[in-house]
Symmetry: C2
């Protein structure tokens, strides 16, 4: 039931961008450093996020990445799904045809309920929520960590 590093790193990266919503693009390098993500790894996460229309990237000097959609419009469920593939705990939840006798299979229903529970949580939280929680935690907000 572990979430992949992909999904965890991706979420942290987006939080970082959300903290800078409306400002200049942030350097990938800085996102990596501040959120403790290996830079070459982060590079691979950005692609899908750009294609999904969540992130905008600008090349060249003074370039970087920034959020394209407003933070309050990005649900975590969306992000996780994009980077993780699917949140269902068992294959048969997404593809009922893979398990024979799904009609009798009670456990199938359980895994589906688990999935729904997770979905519900992740759908209820947006990047904006993360930003607010973060600001509440470290009262200093963005100034907390220089650079």
């Amino acid at each position: 039931m572990k979430l992949s590093a992909r999904a965890r790193y991706g979420t942290k990266a987006l939080l970082e961008l959300a903290l800078h919503w409306g400002e200049e693009p942030v350097l990938l390098k800085d996102v990596a450093q501040r959120q403790q993500i290996p830079l070459p790894y982060l590079e691979h996460l950005i692609g899908p996020l750009v294609q999904a229309g969540i992130v905008k990237s600008t090349r060249g000097a003074r370039g970087g990445v920034s959020l394209l959609k407003p933070p309050e419009e990005v649900m975590l469920s969306e992000v996780i799904q994009l980077l993780e593939g699917s949140i269902s705990p068992a294959e048969c939840v997404d593809n009922p045809e893979t398990c024979s006798r799904s009609n009798l299979c009670v456990t199938h229903d359980i895994w589906d309920e688990v999935k729904e529970a997770v979905s519900k949580v992740l759908e209820s939280i947006t990047l904006q929520d993360l930003v607010e929680r973060r600001r509440q935690k470290g009262q200093l907000g963005v100034l907390e960590y220089p650079l």
Copy 2:
């Protein structure tokens, strides 16, 4: 976020035993066959379940395995935890010391909420619930599949 085959197989196996609660021990071979679990694999799941006091095993002719605790006293959370290790979606939920700056780390809180949501579902379902759901599905009950 996938559940391991260990946990899924284990759950199915216990459901099978719960269906025979109060009867003669069931052969491992039959559990494997009816729940579509590779026998040699199932053998490895039984050990931990016996040690945890959930299952009782009897060797020799007319032996087999049977539930030790009443089905209504076995929560799925217990089973999954035993076979899967932990249900938290991220390491840092179980070991906060592994992630530095956990004080500022907002995502940590999210993963914890996800874990709680899953726990809540799995704690609310016992083997007895599975049995009842199963009986409702296949009206014929145990007779549904001969052998």
